[in-house]
């Protein structure tokens, strides 16, 4: 280590009473942490403060039949239902695929094999694809390609147009990494001893996974699902061209119907309102509803995740 000795830090660390540099360093980094939390608190407080007055049961359950820019009549029920439906459809698709991928990565794959590394790389990459590119993908793949192929020969496009089904599938592709990572984490938290005990009793690998590992990992799988729902619930960019509608008289009844969406409605209210001052209360209340949805889901995920991590630490 003679060559690297120039890089070694100074080693005369003696206590010199009040250490100003140490105090300043801790203070600056601590203040930065505090500043971030303060911004978060300001955003939340601002939205709650301005939105609470309009946020009522009538507002939540009112339909959008009436003028949606009128403070006294506007309701957001169709948007809440639209968002819930698209998120539900998405969950049905993404959770099984995500869980199975995580099972492969933790239970079957060799961590050094090329296939494993490529799958991991793809998962990480999928997490970083811009949301608007998912929108383009949904339009180019699901609507034009698959929908177009299903419509082959038909005069009117039935499948090949924006629909809640395509929006949900697009979101499922987007949230796949979230589910995989959360499930994987909880699978890794299970002690190897549990698997070994099951195998030693004569259970096959598949039986061990289905009857021992997966039930044990249920909290983690739930976290993944919840995180995916929280993330997808607030996303607007991927559904702009794949299914969200500015206004619909009816709720979506078939998978090929378009839908109104809470996040998209926030976008409309804040950019296309005829009189921003008058619609401000509805805007804040709609944002509040959206935030309540996504943040409460995130909070649940955080709590479940903290428990999983605690268990992991206890197990090892």
């Amino acid at each position: 280590m003679t060559t690297g000795s120039a890089k070694l830090p100074r080693l005369d660390f003696r206590s010199r009473g009040f250490d100003f540099v140490s105090f300043a360093f801790t203070g600056v980094t601590g203040l930065a942490t505090l500043f971030i939390l303060a911004i978060l608190a300001i955003i939340l407080a601002n939205i709650v403060w301005h939105g609470w007055g309009t946020f009522s049961w009538r507002f939540l359950t009112g339909s959008a039949d009436q003028d949606m820019f009128d403070v006294n009549k506007a309701g957001i029920l169709p948007m809440v239902i639209g968002t819930a439906l698209r998120v539900l459809l998405m969950t049905i698709v993404v959770v099984p695929i995500g869980v199975i991928t995580a099972v492969y990565l933790t239970e079957y794959a060799h961590s050094t094999a090329l296939t494993t590394r490529v799958i991991r790389g793809a998962v990480n990459n999928l997490a970083g694809v811009p949301s608007i590119v998912f929108g383009l993908f949904g339009l180019g793949f699901f609507i034009s390609f698959i929908g177009g192929a299903m419509d082959a020969g038909a005069a009117e496009p039935h499948w090949g147009k924006p629909a809640i089904l395509w929006a949900s599938l697009t979101l499922a592709v987007m949230t796949l990494p979230l589910v995989i990572v959360a499930t994987e984490e909880s699978l890794r938290a299970i002690t190897p001893g549990l698997r070994e005990a099951s195998l030693a009793l004569g259970a096959t690998k598949l039986e061990t996974i289905l009857k021992i590992v997966l039930p044990e990992a249920l909290p983690g799988i739930l976290t993944g699902g919840i995180l995916a729902v929280g993330r997808a619930g607030g996303e607007v960019a991927p559904i702009l061209f794949t299914g969200a509608a500015y206004y619909m008289r009816d709720l979506p009844k078939a998978p090929t119907d378009q839908f109104m969406d809470l996040g998209y409605h926030v976008f409309i209210l804040s950019t296309q309102s005829p009189d921003i001052e008058k619609t401000r209360p509805i805007l804040f209340a709609t944002v509040l509803a959206l935030l309540l949805l996504t943040l409460s889901l995130n909070l649940v995920a955080v709590i479940v995740r903290a428990r999983v991590r605690k268990k992991m630490r206890a197990g090892h």
Partner: protein
């Protein structure tokens, strides 16, 4: 460990499937099924690229012509062309071309001829604006001011598709976002991972990560309605919505990304490093600043790279808070428009399959390539860092 007999190695069969499984067909099938499903992520990344690029392909290959006055040939000449050439000339998709009979095609060719007769005769009208040199090179249009040599203006008599205003717009907002968020997020990551008490850490980490639970449309709304007015009253610039406001709002979306990854990298530095430094008499901050931070430096760099990827790909924040004017300007206080916001704002109006539509897919594909490379780089750096730290810790 080098002289393990080869027979021992062979018991691990193809792709990690053990020989014993062949005796249990259900196990074997299940394993194959699980493996196939796990390939979905790879398939999806591949499909995203293929299908975004597919829509942009005719443009990239120079098969589209956006000129107001396109060259036309007479119907007799058209009749002599081979079918693929006819399809290319009329700019039809293969499916559309198949559906049409000969008369319909001739009618289209005639329409095309009439269009050419009525088209304006000036030199701008003959320009095919979708060629690469018009996308990236300067061009003096006869009907605009000299400073508009770089202009994105897809609607109008001449469709101008210069990409520089959008690229500069994206980079400007991203730069502001990173300058604002990276120091904050890194400082917070150092504090949370190295200096705070374990109990405090258990509260701080999820609290900061809550910021990532705020949907981007809400951050965009906050930037547009609340922050824009506030920042304008503080800094007193002209246009209320600009790259600066959008950048700050975007920074709020970047903070949790940079924080999480940097905190992860700092935490993955073995505790023994810190303990050794403390035992030598270092204070907590000396251990954090001189020992842990240098050891985790690649991870911190990866955090910034991935934060960049997040910032350049973010749509709703920029769409709502940047003002959306595609002005070629380097000033942070001018209204700007990014690549992502352009796609979001214009795709709904673009004619399906037209050159504007394909142009938006082209910039989407460029965006995908940029984020793909940044993600790959960030991922590789993190992977190597972890390998190195774990190797040393043993």
């Amino acid at each position: 460990m080098n002289n393990v007999p080869t027979s021992a190695k062979r018991t691990v069969g193809w792709m990690g499937i053990h020989r014993g499984h062949k005796a249990r067909p259900v196990e074997w099938l299940a394993e194959k099924f699980i493996f196939l499903v796990s390939l979905t992520a790879i398939l999806m990344v591949f499909l995203i690229f293929v299908f975004v690029a597919r829509e942009a392909l005719p443009l990239a290959l120079g098969q589209m012509n956006s000129a107001a006055a396109r060259p036309a040939i007479s119907t007799e000449e058209f009749d002599k062309l081979k079918p693929p050439e006819q399809q290319l000339y009329l700019e039809l998709t293969p499916a559309e071309f198949k559906r049409m009979d000969k008369e319909a095609l001739l009618a289209l060719a005639e329409v095309r001829q009439d269009e050419a007769k009525e088209a304006p005769k000036d030199k701008d009208a003959k320009v095919n604006t979708t060629e690469w040199r018009y996308l990236f090179g300067a061009h003096e249009w006869s009907d605009s001011r000299p400073e508009d040599r770089y202009v994105w203006q897809p609607i109008g008599r001449i469709h101008k598709y210069n990409l520089w205003p959008l690229i500069i717009g994206s980079l400007k907002t991203t730069a502001v976002a990173l300058i604002f968020s990276v120091p904050l997020a890194l400082a917070a990551a150092i504090y949370v991972s190295q200096l705070s008490s374990p109990t405090l850490k258990e509260w701080l980490k999820p609290a900061i990560e809550m910021l990532s639970g705020v949907p981007s449309v809400v951050l965009g709304f906050f930037g547009l309605i609340v922050m824009a007015t506030f920042l304008q009253s503080v800094f007193g610039y002209q246009s209320r919505l600009n790259a600066f406001v959008a950048g700050i709002a975007l920074g709020l979306a970047v903070i949790p990304v940079v924080f999480s990854i940097a905190e992860d990298a700092l935490t993955s530095v073995p505790r023994s490093y810190t303990q050794a430094a403390l035992a030598l008499g270092a204070s907590k901050w000396q251990a954090a600043w001189q020992i842990v931070l240098p050891a985790a430096a690649p991870g911190v760099f990866a955090a910034v790279v991935l934060g960049f990827g997040r910032a350049i790909g973010e749509t709703m924040v920029v769409l709502m808070a940047s003002g959306n004017a595609s002005i070629m300007s380097l000033s942070l206080f001018d209204s700007t428009r990014s690549i992502t916001a352009t796609i979001a704002a214009e795709l709904a109006e673009a004619v399906f399959g037209g050159h504007h539509y394909r142009m938006l897919f082209l910039i989407g594909a460029l965006l995908f390539i940029v984020t793909f490379l940044t993600n790959l780089a960030g991922d590789l750096i993190m992977h190597r860092l972890k390998g190195r730290l774990e190797g040393r810790a043993k």
